[in-house]
């Protein structure tokens, strides 16, 4: 009898343990993200989340940006349901939300403090008054320059420079014999590479991609001026082979002291001021994205890598808890405790920029915030546009068209055609693609 009872007890206990083991991690979230420094840090800190949520396990799928974009787009468009959390940008959010592919983030907990999100970023991730993604880190674009070289050359770069100021400074700082080039800009073809920069630059010249009837505008005088100044600057003061330079190549050149100025994403500031990797960490100054005389528009570059939950996920509640953790205020504190305030994910929360510790640790904080506040992706150009987006045009066709136009401008930079020819080609191919897509007859 005793033996029977003992056996029954043992059986009941083992069933309980087995059931406990099954419920201990009854939800597994598959998180797709990109291989950028801040995301890698999130992966390393994820133990904090799993210890707070013992029922949730995390599977990470880290991919290169373009591979990730193709991968998650295929999955969400076919309702594949492979991912519970996706890392996407400000470009995708409004397009995917309009398709009904994303879970609204309207019921985040009160302590998440949605009102603390940087207003411009929050607007970019909102579709029809509903937030569809939570920003993980945000960026705009600004001028990063070598204070020592500027001083040697006797030039001063104002906090809000014009393109005229930039060209004059580039000329003064260029010293080809010592492999120092006045300005480094993106030239590598791609909608997210040279076209991100060129679209922002054209915006600051008062240009726009399309008029209100979706007719391409590359034949306008504004585009003409922007592209011709870009090619002149890069040919006369830029590094050799600039048509192959993207963010990473320019980062390497700047860190090795070969660029006088570099106009690119604000997130670069934390790399170029990192003394472990950068030879010029102590002598970097910052200025706003340049504007053109008489045009009240500073580039309008705005991007946020954000976490969104696809409608096809079968673990939406757990996914929301993860998103709230990774983009919440406590996460910023967690990063600061482990890696210092300089490493805090920038650009997403106004409270970060009111934090004295952060301001002291990140000399680029003030300019980053100013650049982001100046961005108005709802009205990208000084002229009226039928589209939104800053350095992108938020229509699904832009990836293809932007890359094709990027190839044309990269070829012009490489000397294979002149600026006029490039603009003519860009006009023709954009017109053709927009006709095919049904925007124009």
């Amino acid at each position: 009898m005793h033996l029977k009872t003992a056996l029954r007890g043992a059986t009941a206990l083992s069933v309980c343990i087995a059931a406990g083991a099954a419920t201990a991690q009854d939800t597994t979230l598959t998180i797709a993200t990109v291989n950028n420094g801040d995301m890698i840090r999130m992966q390393a800190l994820a133990d904090d989340f799993t210890s707070r949520h013992p029922g949730i396990a995390l599977d990470w799928v880290v991919l290169e940006e373009n591979v990730l974009r193709q991968r998650v787009t295929t999955d969400i468009a076919t309702q594949g349901g492979q991912y519970d959390v996706m890392t996407i940008g400000t470009y995708e959010v409004p397009i995917w939300a309009a398709q009904g592919w994303l879970e609204p983030l309207s019921d985040l907990p009160a302590e998440y403090d949605v009102d603390d999100l940087t207003p411009s970023i929050r607007t970019a991730l909102t579709y029809e008054d509903t937030l569809y993604a939570a920003p993980f880190y945000g960026e705009s674009a600004m001028v990063m320059y070598r204070t020592d070289l500027a001083q040697e050359a006797g030039v001063e770069i104002p906090a809000e420079p014009t393109w005229q100021d930039i060209m004059a400074a580039a000329e003064a700082m260029t010293d080809r014999e010592n492999e120092v080039y006045g300005i480094c800009l993106r030239g590598k073809p791609g909608w997210g590479e040279n076209m991100a920069f060129l679209t922002a630059m054209a915006n600051s010249y008062g240009a726009r991609w399309f008029d209100m009837d979706w007719q391409p505008q590359f034949d306008s005088s504004e585009w003409q001026a922007a592209v011709s100044d870009y090619i002149t600057m890069m040919t006369e003061y830029g590094p050799p082979g600039a048509s192959a330079n993207g963010f990473n190549e320019n980062l390497a050149l700047f860190q090795q002291g070969k660029c006088g100025m570099w106009i690119d994403a604000t997130v670069a500031a934390s790399f170029v001021t990192n003394p472990d990797d950068s030879a010029v960490a102590d002598s970097v100054g910052y200025a706003m994205f340049p504007s053109k005389d008489g045009v009240d528009n500073r580039g309008n570059w705005l991007w946020a890598w954000s976490l969104a939950i696809p409608e096809s996920s079968d673990a939406k509640d757990a996914a929301k808890q993860f998103v709230a953790w990774a983009t919440g205020r406590d996460y910023t504190q967690l990063v600061a405790d482990r890696d210092g305030w300089r490493a805090a994910p920038p650009g997403t929360r106004t409270s970060l920029y009111q934090n004295a510790d952060y301001q002291a640790a990140a000399p680029f904080a003030e300019m980053t915030l100013k650049a982001m506040e100046a961005a108005t992706p709802d009205t990208p150009s000084a002229q009226e546009t039928p589209y939104t987006g800053g350095q992108v045009v938020a229509i699904p066709e832009f990836q293809g068209i932007g890359t094709a136009v990027g190839q044309v401008f990269s070829a012009a930079l490489a000397g294979q055609m002149d600026a006029d020819q490039a603009l003519q080609n860009a006009q023709q191919l954009t017109q053709r693609e927009m006709q095919r897509a049904g925007y124009i007859q």
């Binding site: 890698i40 599977d59 991968r71 860190q255 790399f271």
Partner: protein
């Protein structure tokens, strides 16, 4: 005189072959060397070739962040699985085409090859939907199926070329001695074609190991092979070349070693029938 010309020509040919060989091998050597540099040294200009502070920190970082063994096992299962299944289907098919050709055999062979001319992305969405409905997304089974289908034309073509070199009389003799079709293929044809089958197997394992489109697009966390492992270290916003090199070295090392030890079979397989 003739001998002197021959010797000189040999020397020139050898020099050209070595130059081409080194040019082709250089990117792999550079990846290997970069994997032992720090991130700052990896982008330094002028680049350091051998004289830098060798470090294993990148391998440590890669190990810490990724589950190399899981990716490796997925690669092994997917590449060997798809090749073996492919061979089981292709040996009888190639036998039929080589020894009992019909009027349409040539056309069938050309048609099979034409499937390789379609850009894979053109059929990504239909295949993705089929995989979703059959629950094959992110499974090794799904990848074995798709890679078998993709490499089948190459396997059939290679085996067909081999089998055509085997005299049909030997098979006829076996038949006269009363061998059944099954015995003829298994006990007569296959032993004679072992070198050909071995080189086909090796080449297909390498092709399947390196296949990056389907293995990246049809997997997520569970079945992702080493191609996904490499892709997770490439970054457009951040300089991680040394870590990317370490991941690449770890991913290509197994297949490089197999290729090194079986190069005779590989070369024979690739050049068989080229010179008549």
């Amino acid at each position: 005189m003739a001998r002197a010309v021959t010797t000189r020509r040999k020397a020139v040919n050898t020099a050209i072959a070595w130059t081409i060989g080194l040019l082709i091998f250089f990117p792999i050597l550079w990846t290997f060397l970069t994997s032992f540099k720090t991130e700052a040294e990896a982008i330094s200009s002028p680049p350091a070739f051998l004289f830098f502070d060798w470090t294993l920190e990148n391998y440590g970082a890669v190990q810490e962040r990724s589950n190399y063994f899981r990716h490796f096992m997925n690669s092994v299962v997917i590449s060997i699985g798809s090749t073996v299944i492919g061979l089981i289907i292709a040996v009888p098919a190639a036998w039929a085409m080589a020894f009992v050709p019909g009027r349409q055999t040539r056309n069938v062979l050309m048609w099979m090859l034409s499937t390789k001319m379609l850009p894979p992305v053109g059929v990504l969405v239909p295949i993705y939907l089929i995989f979703r409905d059959f629950g094959l997304l992110d499974t090794r089974t799904g990848l074995v199926i798709v890679l078998t289908l993709i490499n089948l034309p190459i396997i059939v073509w290679m085996l067909y070329t081999y089998f055509r070199e085997i005299p049909g009389e030997i098979l006829e003799a076996a038949r006269m001695d009363g061998a059944s079709l099954r015995n003829e293929i298994i006990h007569v044809l296959t032993p004679m074609a072992v070198p050909g089958i071995a080189s086909t197997l090796l080449l297909n394992v390498i092709l399947a190991w390196n296949e990056a489109f389907w293995t990246l697009n049809l997997t997520a966390a569970n079945a992702a092979p080493l191609t996904a492992f490499i892709a997770s270290y490439s970054s457009p916003e951040g300089l991680f070349y040394a870590k990317l090199s370490a991941a690449s070295t770890m991913a290509i090392a197994p297949i490089l070693i197999i290729g090194w030890f079986s190069q005779k079979q590989l070369v024979r397989g690739l050049t068989f029938g080229a010179v008549k």
